[in-house]
Symmetry: C2
Subunit: 247 residues, 2 copies
DNA sequence: TAAATTTGTCTATTGATATAGACAACTATA
DNA sequence: TATAGTTGTCTATATCAATAGACAAATTTA
């Protein structure tokens, strides 16, 4: 169970080249190939997966298109991108903490903000009445120039009026909350699932069709248990793994 | 970001019928359709997703094959399976705890066990020398007759000699560890990722090709921090979500 | 320089995927 | 009973996915 199985599935609704591209991505992400290392020759990969060389070429073409590989005629095919980023999740989850050792640059971009009535699940998460005014922040996390997360966060509009401006200015949820007197907050709950990327994910996270996204739905609370933030985040599974840390 | 996007991707390496099947699965899992509820007519779905009716029929045929839907000529297509199972993960993660409210029946089956030399990562996880003897237990978790997890667990063979027999007898990791004087243990770390199911996953978890699995790699320790169990678990994303609980 | 290795391009063929239209079979309802 | 609405089956066609083979182009190695 340690290594990945090399077999692939025919007549599955997922084309062989896409499956092989997934395998290669996974091998890179799990460190089987170092950065700049040469991939095995196309013929070797074809034999290994039991498919035609042209099928392997389709897989490689997709990854070249994605910027993961670089093919050079006569030399070989080389790995460009690095290992999967390990994203810490725990009681004190914050975006930049814990990513410092792995990346040279990371930040959050505020894409949009709006005030809206709370939907059923947002209201439940924040302990508000359904339809109460909430502020929604749409953000994207980037590390080394690559999108690594895409999130929507909701806050009580009465209590946190102006948090959108604070976020735009500071580029940090933690710093923005500090302006409202929140010096500390905890992750109360996180529900995790996975699915195929939809059109929005493809655009937001710069993914290729067929990619997988991890989805978390979380509630942050003050140390005394008062809900302050409800959020849904999406992570590209090929670039990110979630490391669940104890408190 | 709340509701799923209805658009699908062409030329993605994932066939349209598979993408639509995924969407329907997700809608069911997230509670958009109640159990026994009727799906919209094929023509309505075809229009909604911008594809031919026959393409929708392929998606439905796959889900009927999977046992998720039941089609009745002249009446409609109906939902058979229930919502996604919410699987708790936290410092005191155990299989049955927390699933009691959601399922009427659940248990762990021991599929195989063996003694082997520790691989690099198993040795690291357990704090042993590489190549030290470890016991591996292959297990499957089932709830209401459906596979919901598939795991490999490793234990120090010296300290836990005979845990395979204990597991076979008790059907519980917790109970088996208790025989070795472990009254309490904690989840030290969990690393989470997602990928497409490979051939082994399909067989082990009774999935259809193209399905997604959540993968966790975890270490359990005694209250004083001594590693006792290293495990890799796989969960079918269409049937399970992970609920990360605070300590 | 010559040979071996590797990626790039072309043609051809087969099977799976998707679209299109027509009509049959069955169910519920007016 | 007649009609509308739904799933089931059939034929036909076009495009994508995969296989097969041959050879060109570029690079490395002997």
């Amino acid at each position: 169970m340690i290594g990945q199985t090399d077999s692939i599935e025919r007549r599955s609704g997922v084309s062989l080249w896409r499956q092989i591209a997934d395998k290669i991505l996974q091998a890179i992400a799990s460190g089987d190939f170092a950065e700049n290392a040469a991939l095995p020759p196309e013929m070797a990969l074809a034999e290994r997966y039991g498919v035609n060389r042209h099928t392997v070429r389709s897989a490689i073409a997709a990854l070249v298109q994605e910027g993961v590989l670089r093919a050079e005629q006569g030399r070989g095919t080389f790995v460009l991108s690095r290992k999967r980023l390990s994203y810490p999740i725990g009681a004190r989850t914050r975006f930049s903490t814990g990513l410092q050792a792995q990346t040279s640059e990371r930040h959050i971009v505020l894409l949009a903000s709006s005030v809206e009535p709370a939907s059923q699940r947002v209201a439940e998460g924040l302990g508000l009445a359904r339809g109460a005014a909430v502020i929604r922040l749409e953000t994207r996390g980037e590390a080394d120039g690559r999108p690594v997360s895409r999130a929507a966060s909701w806050f009580d509009a009465n209590r946190f009026a102006g948090i959108d401006a604070a976020m735009a200015e500071t580029g940090s949820i933690t710093a923005s909350l500090a302006r409202f007197g929140i010096d500390d907050y905890l992750r109360q709950s996180t529900v995790l699932s996975a699915r195929h990327a939809d059109a929005a994910d493809l655009a937001d996270l710069d993914l290729q069709p067929g990619a997988i996204v991890l989805v978390t739905v979380a509630v942050n609370v003050t140390p005394d248990g008062q809900p302050i933030q409800f959020s849904e985040s999406r992570f590209p599974a090929e670039r990110v793994e979630l490391k669940l840390s104890a408190l």
